[in-house]
Symmetry: C2
Subunit: 240 residues, 2 copies
DNA sequence: GGACTACCAGCTGTCTACAATAGATAGGAC
DNA sequence: GTCCTATCTATTGTAGACAGCTGGTAGTCC
């Protein structure tokens, strides 16, 4: 019985919260691939729980959009289809702009400080070549801005977008060919620089500038994704 | 044991779906007031279920924003504070406009037909003075438009807004003093007429007109809410 | 008389065991 | 040989019982 083992890292007092956090992270970083089936029994054993609390956690994750449930069928990680990309770039700007504008108007000093800490960890992950950490801290960064908006409706909307933001980004980052592309390093640095500018605009309580910056930030992602999904043809001549 | 009673209306094959639907409806129509505690045991008995499936349903509802959960504390219906009104009218236009524009671009004929059916039931509820039915069908109407947008991110965002749209409207409609106000009947008819115009714009695949209409629709609600929350002073003279 | 403490009731959280359903596999019929 | 069908297994869904926490109450001490 794994739960009786004191060295088990998951035998902590709140194993359920641990389960939820772990599942979210695995889905965001694509360690659980879109469409992958999730076995209740397996998770229960891994976290030293019985199935009912695991099932509760699954329901919650389903409500948040991480997984999808069908009756009498195993739970599956929310798929990420070709349509997701289009859907995302249609709706995400709306949510991100609303979130960032409100954050610029309503932020507290303590929140700005916390945002800077997240950005610090984000830059550290880039420096260390830690792709998962980079995806995760980027998620935390935008989520924190959503919290700073202090609006009960913005935050859940943003959360749903961020799930697929992270997963779309991960697809791009982990592609080895794309990773070697010189534009890749450029994009990485520019994204980090944009984060700094967004922080500055929010700190200065300047919604207009914050909006312009976050639009540019999303546009950078969008252009990279387009380049990745529909690259230029290879420079090969068939004339030898 | 209520579940063994064949005449029990809740002993249907899918009691859990029934539970979720009933709870959502009760919360939308304010039969479960904001902040009200929800007793698991009570619900389990009412729907002829044991507590685990009830708890699962609660988690799902929490994820969707209907209720709030805290550890070792009873579940509570999501509160509806003075800030909710402001938050709602700040963010709802953004979501409704996105939803309606996309619906106008992507709708199918079958969906338009279904939307007209919902509108038919909405008008019937108004005619019959059925306040709960009016609130519920209005919710269904806007939700259907969200489905017609065929965008995985818009729909959950809209869902969260609609929960409080229904509840805010219910506060207004059920106020007896406001109900007697002559503006009330006017607003009722105008809202229904706007629904018809929105349907027409979506059917005509005209996103711009649909956007203008839905903005006007929200503005009508907003003005009424403002009037309700901050009415003009009473016309009483203290001179006798 | 007021305040602190220990007990107690009720609820939430969890576990084990059982029932029901879906998919897979093997057997038989055409 | 192919298709259909029936059984069988693995997984999901549910029930009932137990453990742990919270809040209230009553009793006692200062």
């Amino acid at each position: 019985m794994p739960s009786t083992n004191p060295s088990d890292p998951h035998a902590s007092p709140d194993r359920k919260a641990s389960l939820g956090g772990a599942l979210r992270r695995r889905i965001l970083t694509m360690h659980l691939a879109p469409g992958a089936v999730i076995d209740e029994t397996e998770l229960a054993e891994e976290f030293g729980l019985s199935r009912p609390p695991v099932r509760e956690a699954m329901r919650q994750l389903a409500g948040e959009g991480y997984i999808e449930l069908e009756p009498n069928r195993p739970a599956r990680v929310t798929p990420l289809g070709y349509r997701s990309l289009r859907d995302f770039f249609l709706f995400a700007p709306v949510v991100y702009v609303a979130s960032t504008r409100l954050a610029a108007e309503r932020r507290t000093d303590a929140e700005v400080a916390e945002l800077k800490e997240i950005q610090h960890r984000f830059r550290a992950a880039i420096r260390d070549g830690d792709v998962d950490g980079r995806v995760f801290e980027n998620d935390r960064f935008h989520l924190k801005i959503g919290e700073m908006a202090h609006n009960a409706y913005v935050l859940p909307s943003l959360r749903r977008c961020l799930i697929d933001h992270a997963r779309i980004a991960k697809v791009f980052y982990e592609d080895q060919l794309a990773a070697r592309h010189p534009k890749m390093a450029e994009e990485r640095d520019e994204a980090a620089a944009q984060h700094d500018e967004i922080i500055a605009a929010i700190e200065a309580r300047d919604p207009d500038r914050a909006e312009a910056l976050v639009r540019a930030h999303l546009d950078l992602s969008r252009r990279n994704m387009a380049m990745y999904a529909a690259p230029e043809g290879m420079a090969i001549r068939f004339d030898n």
